[in-house]
Amino acid sequence: MSVDLDQFKGIFFEESFENLDAMETGLLALSEGETDLETVNTIFRGAHSIKGGGAAFGFDVVSSFTHVMEELLDKMRNGEMEADFASVNILLESVDVLRELLKAFQDGLEPDDQRALALKLKLEEIRDGASGVSEIATDSQIEVEAGDTRDEEIIGWTIHFLPYENLLQTGNDPSLMLRELAGLGEMTLQVHTQRIPPLAEMEPEKCYLSWDIELKAPVERDAITEIFEWVEDDCDLDIQPVVQPVERRKMERRDEERRTGEGAGLERRKEDRRAVGKDAAPAPSATIRVSTERIDEIIDMVGELVITQSMLSQLGEDLDLAKLEKLREGLEQLERNSRELQEGVMSIRMQPISFAFNRFPRMVHDVSQKLSKQIRLETSGEDTEMDKTVMEKINDPLVHLVRNSIDHGLETPDERLEAGKEEEGIVRLNAYHQGSFVIIEVSDDGSGLDRERIFTKAIERGLVKESDELSDDQVFRLLLEAGFSTAEQVSDLSGRGVGLDVVRKNIEGLGGSIDIRSELGVGTTFAIRLPLTLAVLDGQLFKVGNDTFILPLSSIVESLQMDQKCISGVASDIELYRLRDEYIPIIDLSKTFSINENPKNMENALLVVVELGERHVGLLIDELLGQQQVVIKSLETNYQRVTGISGATILGDGTVSLILDVAGLIEMSHLDQNNGGKQQKMANNNLVLQEQ
């Protein structure tokens, strides 16, 4: 039985978190002046389902807490109350608290319900129509209210009454007592007869019965003990008050607060609780919601696959040349089936990017208050679908970029007015597909990047020399270098000097890239480019020496046969290839991979031009083979990370082939070696910074 319940618990948690998200979205809409009744209804429904589920699974804290939220929302719904700023904020906080409570229950922990209890009191205040909503937040207010703890919250009593066998002999009659009890209020009786012996052994003067009594009467304990006064020594008597669980906790809470005094302990606990919440990394949800329609489609495809398979095995039983044509047809069908099936299964993992975008309204709401900036968040392209695994990994970089835009990008309202802009700054999130990539843009209409300031800073940091002539784009890209931060002050939000470089690393780790566009005074846009999926890629097979390697097709710009005239050596080890009006550094893969150390004859050799972000490099290879879709297998599972290799795959003939990682190749080739000194210097700078 408990196993069954656990199974439903998982669903309850999942649904509750979804409900909480929906409630959050709704509340944010309310705080932006949305007055639609349907929005309040949505929030109400969310709270209601959580309450029901919480009660069913015995999470009393959750159900009693949501109960108060629900009542408050009900008042808003009926127009008895206005959804003003303060109450919406408290409801938002309640959503956070609920989320924490549910998370604790999900992890099988006993939740720290102090914060919930404190908030519940605030909610009750609002619900009961406390006039000054702004005042309710003070702890002293709670203290005052705590004074008039009401005892009539006891709604009844349960009484366990077990008379000893000799009770009747003392001249007392249980039936009289019970009748008297019934006079106090509604009574439910349960009689226990298991002590009654077989008729032959029964003695008529002995009492064999016992009772469990539920009395629904808000009476004092004395009224009950009075009734049993004469039999106290002749029976087992247990009288327990029935208290509305909500109310009892409220009393305990008040006691607690009196003990800790001024609620200082509470404040501390709140802090602890938050700290814990921060440390615990959000566990990526292991489940995925799929429409039954999609599953039906896949089942159909599997059915077709099975038919094809049986057809082929029948053919294989007695194959002669006459059936060759049929075999070919069968194989074609098999190919089509498996491709469809693959696409179908992959589509399960595709989810609209709104899952990632949805958390931002709340974040912007919170952060804008903290910084006292007025910010409007605009999102577009929420329906753009991408692989769930990619989306999970892109969340943190996105949060960072949005915070960066709010913190550094947007000016304060005063500055904005001075610059002739609206007080309210705009942060825009946009997503769209481009080939097999998803582009996600985070832009702001703030002050834009200050080229000169970045350049000066980069010189200070030793990233560039004063004499270097860089394009705007190259200057902006310096922001993505490790240890670079233009924020004058380290703020709570961003600007710790780590950050954008980590964002870049994460994104490149996913096989994506990041670009920066900016115009001074107009705004800045960070554009992230990510592959649609991490599991399968279209690969270009090629040979270096005797080894077959694979390049992601999407990273290849073109392949060409080199012309000796276009090759020029710079310094001793770098060779450049002039392609139209661009000079592309050449990476000799056989040298980089220690396959063949002898310098290759460049004349007529094959060069594959690949791009990483805006950067182009040429890879020197021996032979181009075909293109095919490959399934990416991690090398790290059983071995370890290899620089320049992003994974392995199994080819049609069963052999293993390695997939190249362009970013890693550039890193390990001589191209970055030139920066070695600089990086060293940068690391030193970081060290100094940390020490200060």
């Binding site: 991979f593 090398l635 059983n638 370890q640 052999t655 390990m668």
Partner: protein
Amino acid sequence: MEAVKERETGIADVNENQYLTFMLSGEEYGVDILTVQELRGWEDATPIPNSPSFVSGIINLRGVVVPIINLRDRFGLENRAFDATTVVIIVKLAGNDRERVLGIVVDAVSEVYSISGSDLKPPPDMDGAISIEFVKHLATIDNKMIILLDINRLINEGIFSKKETADLDVHEISVEE
């Protein structure tokens, strides 16, 4: 590949452990049989660029990419051409942070012995061909010495540890030239 035959060992002993033994350059080595997943004949592995020389490459083991370690090379023994008796022992180990599957190339597999705890002798100080720290015990069976390897340690420290691999002959690409 020759079948592995169980040796007649009389009465089973609770302290007994079974060891799979294999030949390497004329010596007989043993590993705890519980770590062995399967045995395979030698097949060409895909080399991994810039990996230590004892990593022969990776193979496809029913859809799983498995690295292959050449134990002769790792132990500093002279390499020899792979032949019909060359065997890859696929072992499954709890690593530092995760379970790993990898293959070990040996000259030939020999026997499965049950050896009781009391027959295990600590390794003496020896400056032999292999690093002494990977030898867990020595055992004598039919007047033959069997070197029982600490396979967990060998893999986790002798192959994947940074320190160890740094000491070994790693083909770093020389970018200076």
